[in-house]
Amino acid sequence: MTSLASCLLLSALLFSIGLAGALIRRNAILVLIGIELMLNAANLNFIAFWRYGPNPEALTGMMFVIFSIGVAAAEAAVGLALIISLYRYIKTADIDEVNSMRG
Amino acid sequence: MLGEGIAKGLVETARNFFGSYFTKDRLTTVQYPEERLPQFEAARNFPFLVYDGGDWQAGLRCVGCQICEKECPPKCIYIEKSKDKKPDAVGKLQFYPAVFNIDVSVCMSCQICVEVCPFEAIKMDTEFELSTDDRFGGLLWDKAQLAKSNEHYRKIHPTEAAEVDARLAEEKAKVDAKVKAAAENKTTPTSPGAVQPGSGASSTQ
């Protein structure tokens, strides 16, 4: 029963799970994982609309996902580098502890 | 240039590979159960008890003094001294070990028991094919398994055995001389005080 609606529902579910995780969990790495999940949900939307959309020959949705994967990889690299450098300063990856602006 | 050494190494290993098929003396491996390397004379593995003559029970040199039991670092020797005395190799009445066990799974082949034994009764064997399917009983050797003839000792450690034999012969000669002297003393009465300390010293030795 693969249809546009089911794909979109899966995507919405993934997005909400990612959002909930990013908002609820305290660990910075898990927040990053949540953001990755949300990006993936968006990618799934692009693919679904490319597949069921009116003009699949243009490959626009697919191209967007390729670039989005590239951006997500860059984001993960920089985000994790930030988390590691943050950890070096304050010895925790718990974002609730990072509430002061001391360098 | 990068890679030269690698090429050289590859040629060398290839030469080894093919050479091993053509020149047999390249192969250093000994095909063990069929071929064996001669053992070194100083090789040692686990201790055994030396006996003289044909009967191991009569000829056992061990007198059950328990020095080795006390000195053994991993405490793998267990001795029970006998209640009665039997004549030993030289004919003197001695205690003998009623039980003499060595747990070779514990033994560490340190040879301390050999060094402390005053009677040359315990020596190191060279036997190494000792595998057994019984982990506990199979490696706990009793007196019967431990007893090996002096000829065996001469065979595995010829030089050392010759020294020991010479020393024992010397001692035996000394004892014999004393016995003879004592016998002569008994037949021809001389001062008994001169002999007494000498015989006392030899009995404590």
């Binding site: 909930a20 990755e36 679904a48 009116p54 996902v65 390729i66 951006v71 920089v78 990856a93 | -």
Partner: protein, 164 residues
Amino acid sequence: MLFTIFATITVAGAVAAMSLRNLVHSVLALTLAFAGLAVVYLQLGAQFIGLAQILVYVGAVAILIVFAILLTRDAEATPKFIVDRSWKSSGAVAIASFGVLAWAIHHSAASRHAVPPQPEATMQQIGNGLMMRFALPLEIIGLLLTAALIGAVTIAIHEKQETR
């Protein structure tokens, strides 16, 4: 049918990733979600995207996260509170967003179209698209990735020297 199975795997992986206490476990669950999503892409006819998803997410991003977890040494310690102080309101926001999205999907006109035939997306077409129509975005992505590489390296190296 297959879609349902892989969608379930994906969602289960995502839920596990966000709820497990052990961080390494949650990354492994995340890779499961990524892999499930890759299979969904393959089912939708996007072969290149599906394989790229596995290559990038399972092969690179998951490994990167694992390295970060081990470098921050939180893998073994399970903290007392794994959730935020404001978890109630955050959860409500997430549920509300899902509600809105689901409502929108249910009522949108886009999902009522007939299912079109499987569109073609050969590697040739994708390559031509990337090299011709999307050449500029490709260059920009290359620039971005280089910048990200250099940025990540400088962040890590700079901090290391300062703590010494």
